[in-house]
Amino acid sequence: MANIRLTELVKEFGSTVAVKGISLDIENGEFLIIVGPSGCGKTTTLNMISGLETPTAGEIMIGDRVVNDVEPGDRGLGMVFQDLALFPHMSVFENIAFGLRVQKMEDQEVQERVRAAAEALYILPLLYKRPNQCSGGESQRVALARTIVNNPDVFLMDEPLSSLDAKLRVDMRTELKRLHDRLKATFVYVTHDQAEAMTMADRIVVMNGGKVEQVGSPLDIYDTPMTQFVAGFFGMPTMNFLEGVLTSSNGDPIFKSGSLEISLPEESTQNIKDNKVVLGIRSEHVSVSDGALRGQARIIEPLGDASLVYFEFGEEEELVAKVSPELRISPGDQLMFSLQASHCHLFDQSDGHRLN
């Protein structure tokens, strides 16, 4: 049973601060995904949990003991590395058995446990091959088997799917989720891929610049991003952002940006003091089939189930809309568009915090 508690965790490398004070509670059995752009401190955070890095300040608790000074091997966790870190000079069997051999386990038991782990991940036929004879997906399973064979309470994963091709990566997502359901262990998973985070996580931690931007369930984060950074990080295509000011006409709040004016629901702007804001709206909440605003289509990207329409309006401002593929629009076409006011996000122009 292991929940993890990070308290004011700081890591400095020389003069650069990689992690700037993180506090986080990871519950037992949770699938937690830390996501962020490269260099945001997510891997450093993971390495501090694993013990490969020692925190400069702060406290790490696994279960009910403080593990700051506990050797990585004694923390009761397993880890899958970005490059998988399979030992190239050992057979798959010996790779999986490594942790058991370290504990000087009886050979009989080693055999049983390695086989059980291999069976769970469908790699029994590979046991006597070398890692370099395995395909990408197979290597992935070997790395997972090597981790589960020790029965750790916590699984740490550092972008484990990044070496796979796109198709396999999607399949492995499902498989990892299934594995999590079966093992009921705590998973801490680091990735820079927002789609991975959305699909697998129970909860997502978004990090940027060594700090936590937002913690929440995938849908929470998608629907109510707390900062402009989070809003821009999740969702394909990237959320539309328009800089402008808030004014009011006849008591109704209005967002004004160049020639564009949008009236917003009243309750959403109640607590806003500064009137310089950024308005964010996802492409699916932009409609181009009807509306009062005039634009001109530039680029059409058909996705199959939908099409993305990039269009210009006003003084070379650009928006993207996700529309039904049946809607035939060609580049250069004039169109009338509208924004769904109820789905607009407002962010502070100076610090990017959510305002509504």
Binding site: G73, F87, F98, R146
Partner: protein, 320 residues
């Protein structure tokens, strides 16, 4: 159909170009083969002399192939009993059988290469993984390689022959000298080859991803266990190459052995030189046999590690 001049000329010029390029290739090969012959000639001359009878060693005009090939020279240098008739004829007093020198050379070179390999690998690992005191080590390789060995030999002569015995006498009460000892020679070889070992092993160790060690550590393996089970097996082939390279360096080393040994310890190059100094009645045949014995293992080992040789000689400044 008649070819118009317009279409004929490109074909012709193409043919001309081909002929020109073939001529070029022939010229190239001729030059290269000539150089190859030039290169191989001294070695050929040594090997064929080693099969010549004593009457053929120095004749005018010289014989380009031994007229009556014989293994007598090899018999002489490999004999155990130097009083045998064939040896005694020209032998003078100095024993010139090879066993002593061969034994010393093999022992000193192997032992010092092994110890240097052990220490150097260990340090290379520490430099690679903890960045320990190694920022300037690169220069130390170059410096040790560039200092004329004679400048090292003079201090060492004084040190081995004077200071160590004096120190030993005051501390232990007995005179112990490192001069003309296998230990003294080995210590020296270890020290001067260590920078090479560190340099070469570092390139091999850097190729082992850190994540392998991290993975082992997470699975509870200690530092030593990881080193033994994960890192060393992965750099084993690199260690073999490094060992051979250092062995060759030691095997060929002459000046330090000449100045710091003799009469008790003799390495093969020193033995060969000893024959040379006898201006009268030089034993060309046995010399050639010794030369052949010294050279062949080095050429064989050198060919095995050929592509790594450049690393040792060019200090990694060349991209490969």
């Amino acid at each position: 159909m008649v070819l118009s001049p317009d279409t004929a000329s490109p074909i012709q010029s193409k043919r001309q170009a081909m002929r020109k390029s073939r001529r070029r290739t022939i010229v190239r090969h001729t030059i290269l083969i000539l150089w190859g012959l030039l290169i191989m000639f001294p070695i050929y001359w040594m090997v064929q002399t080693s099969f010549k009878d004593s009457g053929e060693w120095v004749t005018w005009p010289p014989n380009w192939v031994p007229h009556s090939p014989t293994l007598q020279n090899y018999g002489q240098i490999f004999t155990f009993d130097i009083t045998k008739e064939g040896v005694a004829r020209q032998a003078t007093e100095q024993p010139f059988n090879i066993w002593g020198a061969l034994g010393d050379s093999v022992l000193i070179c192997t032992l010092s290469a092994l110890i240097a390999l052990f220490m150097g690998t260990f340090l290379a690992y520490a430099i690679s993984r903890f960045n320990v005191g190694g920022s300037k080590f690169r220069h130390s390789v170059l410096i040790i390689r560039m200092i004329p060995p004679i400048v090292i030999a003079i201090p060492l002569l004084m040190y081995y022959a004077i200071m160590v015995p004096l120190a030993a006498e005051t501390v232990l009460g007995t005179r112990i000298s490192l001069f003309d000892t296998r230990v003294g020679m080995s210590l020296l070889y270890i020290t001067i080859t260590l920078p090479f070992v560190i340099w070469m092993m570092l390139t091999f160790i850097e190729e082992v991803p850190y994540s392998l060690e991290h993975a082992a550590r997470i699975m509870g393996a200690g530092r030593m266990y990881t080193l033994r089970r994960v890192v060393l097996p992965l750099v084993a082939s690199g260690m073999v190459v490094t060992f051979l390279f250092v062995f060759i360096l030691n095997w060929a080393e002459f000046l330090l052995a000449l100045t710091l040994t003799h009469p008790d310890v003799t390495t093969l190059p020193v033995l060969l030189n000893k024959f040379q100094s006898a201006s009268e009645g030089r034993l060309y045949g046995p010399q050639a046999a010794i030369g052949t014995i010294i050279t062949i293992p080095v050429i064989v080992l050198g060919m095995i590690i050929q592509k790594h040789l450049i690393k040792g000689f060019s200090f990694g400044t060349i991209r490969k």
